[in-house]
Symmetry: C2
Amino acid sequence: MSASALNPKRKPRISASERRRQLIEAALPLFAQVGFRGVTTRQLATTAGVSEALLYQHFPSKEELYSAVQDYCCQPREELKAVLTSLIPSTSTLVGLLYFQTKMVVDKAVMGGGGGNQIFPRLMMHSVLEDGEFARLYLQRAVSRMAATMQRSVAAAKKSGDIAVDDMSDEMRFWFCHHLLVTVLMYRLTPDPVVAYPISEDALLMQIVVFMLRGLGMTDAAMAKYCNFDALREQSQKWLNLIRDYPAGSEGNVS
Amino acid sequence: MSASALNPKRKPRISASERRRQLIEAALPLFAQVGFRGVTTRQLATTAGVSEALLYQHFPSKEELYSAVQDYCCQPREELKAVLTSLIPSTSTLVGLLYFQTKMVVDKAVMGGGGGNQIFPRLMMHSVLEDGEFARLYLQRAVSRMAATMQRSVAAAKKSGDIAVDDMSDEMRFWFCHHLLVTVLMYRLTPDPVVAYPISEDALLMQIVVFMLRGLGMTDAAMAKYCNFDALREQSQKWLNLIRDYPAGSEGNVS
DNA sequence: ATTATCTATAGATCTATAGATAATGC
DNA sequence: ATTATCTATAGATCTATAGATAATGC
């Protein structure tokens, strides 16, 4: 047993930067759940296991803590980069990426949130209802690399004739797919989903992918060739493992 | 000059039901803007031009007022029904409806909000961040008729061969189009848009429609035939006028 | 000596109510 | 006589700080 367990008055004393990070990580799910105004400084302190006074030692105000939390969430995710840069732009990659993203959404496993509690999308929505500052920054930091990778694959698919139409920029194509997924995610954020789809989650996943590929202008022939959902599921799982096993390197840069 | 203008202490006295409606309508934009916790009862009272005490005469608590506001927003809109029921299911109607909805979104003129302040989508988002109760109800009441009409037109388009694929229910097709539009709307709710699209609003409108039609499985031939954007713009404006000129009949049923 | 932490509390709101007053309708 | 409305305020939070105390590192 540790000293603090024997003497309940003895509180763990840690360095300022470590405590700061701890406060941010404790605050993150609270702000995500109920927004800035929904949490009290008391709750923030209690959840972090410290006094309110200590909170104000590290952040001059509740708003500053909120900003710090948002900042913290905008750190680019290296593990995703590792997977994304290893991909060769192609029709197959395009289908794989869309499947992967859709699966993450349907499984409510959007990365970085810390396990199914949907922290990132919730923070995004709160931001959109405020000034959108965080939403813009987050899309730039966390989504832009995914966007670039997908756009390269769309270009490759066009070159190989798998996408036959060319009346839309690759960037817009990415956004339309992204937008569709955002609402699917959003509508499933509540205890009861906002929309009760008349199909299974598996069918939902597949139909979203089909709809997106058609929207992108993929030919029927290419879809028949690349929409092998068994293979897609397998590859998707492989990527997930790669991301999960990524060496959890430099995670200490809380500014 | 009225008596109340001469004597500033003399307040206008109106019937309970009228006052109740007035309080709800005053509260609506406030709750939409900053959510339940973002408004104080003082603000609610001041905005409505009454004392806080009077507020509590009509609603036992702030939460009850919030619920009443949400209820009020769920009244089905008769003027939309009038237009929708007059439409004959067809490929042309399908394209027209999608164009119309997309135009409303791009123009930030989503109906029922009272002029560009985006009240409904904001209430929806707040609800999704809470329990989603209102979001579900609103979709049922306000969107389901649009959904049904669109689904009938999708069925007609399939019958006439303009939509060649049949691997997706008409309901899911509607939802995917809807979802895409929801995010476009959401990302443009902030003072600065969340995503800065690299194209004009007009091009955005057209490309969204094209993406949705392709996603639905519309043939290239049908798209060439029905995607006449000049004609679509004109028809869309005609519908808008119909809705605007709809006799503002029974608008008194605040429960 | 310095740094991390706490207890206690000030001061500002915020929700909700008690009790008084003025207008309306019969 | 009834109904609509207000002023004033209680009681509960909520943010933030002052000032004290205990642990750490030199």
